[in-house]
Amino acid sequence: MEDAYKKQIVEGLVFASDTPISEQKIAALVEEITPAQVRKVVGQLNEEYTKSKRSFQIARVASGFQIKTRKDLSPWVKKLFKGRIRARLSQAGLESLAIIVFKQPIGRVDIDAIRGVNSGGVIKTLLERNLVSIAGRSAGPGKPILYGTTKEFLNYLGVDEIKDLPKPKEIEEIMGKLDSSEAVADNILDALTAGDELEAEVEVVETEPDNSATSLDDHNDGNGKTE
């Protein structure tokens, strides 16, 4: 393998990796390259970037190499992200948010009841990050505050109006297995075989419960954390 090509592979791997990538990892992937060579090649690449005034460098962080945009460009990049919702949501945040999105308008007591834990702190964060807002007050005793999604967050989700959001029942329909019931198949079959003098003979043995019914559990595991 030519040195020039090695350099391209190293660069390509650093670019495409979804996490910082170490020289050991690269060497393990590409037999002809040693960790030392990786370090050397990265040095060469950075020199080339500087010379050709590229807007980035390969930086070394604890776990490996990573692409970093140049510091002097950060005002522009910041502008790019401006107006975006600032949030890396915790599992608790995500849960409360999901409840508010699909059950809005909803009060804190009901969110707590659904989650089984106090959600006060999480709701505060969601309010701060402009994901949810106060949507009114309940008519019930104490007139508790009700929460709903902000226009910005709906927009982020790609939904025009609250009424376009799927209702809990529709969510279950979408997320669940939507098999047309076996019973329907049987009925059609009965009607078919009974009324037919032509020649159709469709034989169907008793239908068994559908084994493919992937339960909702299969998706999205590893949640279950509460605050």
């Binding site: 495409a16 990573q66 692409i67 990049v77 600032r86 949030a87 890396r88 409840i99 078919l192 003979e201």
Partner: protein, 240 residues
């Protein structure tokens, strides 16, 4: 020689029909329904429908084919002048053509998918910043949380909700005989009782109902009589 037939190779009844039409090299606008239906049935018999997710749809199509076949066998209705009878196959033909159109698009999309799988996005990037955001305050990327993600979290949370609607149901032992006796005993003490007062003493709904039935039963057996002077006025119950 033996072969294994898998209907899993077909995306559904329309796909199977298109295959049969192509295989027989027949004109899609002039489908020989008897022949195609026969072959379609053979396929259905040959495979175990039970293994299929779409068993009902395959059967439904069989019914449709048989109906069309029957319609074709019937004498054509006499129609006014140049009015033409609609070909019973027409609707099915349109469906087949429509499906075929999208099947072709799907295959084109599949080609694009294959091609695009050799290109990788830049993912391993940090934006160097004078004052970096704290770890938990990064920008929510456009693909970080989708409506689907929220739906799936929502379903998960709902599944964890503890069942709050716990009712303890106690059976209340009460029979019509008991209540008949109760009414008669009361009437032994007093000559007549107000219907309102009689029922007013009873707390449980089921006992109320049973007592009412008991009274009706006693009236039927002529053991008690019911008096009411005016409509909506008090009802009295007495021994007859």
């Amino acid at each position: 020689m033996s072969y294994r037939i898998q209907l899993q190779n077909f995306e559904g009844p329309l796909d199977l029909l298109l295959f049969l039409i192509r295989k027989n090299e027949v004109d899609i606008y002039d489908i020989p329904v008897a022949k195609i239906t026969g072959q379609y049935m053979q396929y259905l018999e040959a495979i175990e429908l039970l293994d299929l997710d779409n068993a009902s749809e395959y059967i439904l199509m069989a019914a449709t084919l048989i109906r069309i076949k029957a319609q074709l066998l019937l004498p054509k209705p006499v129609l006014e002048d140049d009015e033409e009878a609609e070909d019973p196959r027409q609707e099915l033909i349109q469906r087949l053509l429509e499906y075929q159109r999208f099947k072709e698009v799907a295959s084109g999309l599949g080609d694009l998918e294959s091609e695009s799988r050799d290109y990788f996005k830049l993912k391993n990037l940090v934006v160097e910043d004078e004052e970096p955001l704290p770890e938990d305050e990064q920008w929510l990327g456009k693909e970080d949380v989708t409506l689907y993600d929220l739906m799936s979290v929502f379903v998960d949370v709902l599944k964890r909700v503890p069942p709050v609607t716990e009712h303890t149901v106690e059976s209340i032992p009460v029979t019509i005989d008991d209540q008949s006796k109760y009414v008669l005993d009361l009437l032994d003490l007093k000559e007549s009782v107000l219907f309102r007062e009689l029922l007013g003493q009873i707390k449980e709904r089921i006992v109320l109902i049973v007592t009412f039935i008991a009274i009706l039963e006693l009236v039927r057996r002529n053991r008690v009589a019911v008096d009411q002077t005016n409509p909506f006025s008090e009802i009295w119950i007495r021994k007859s």
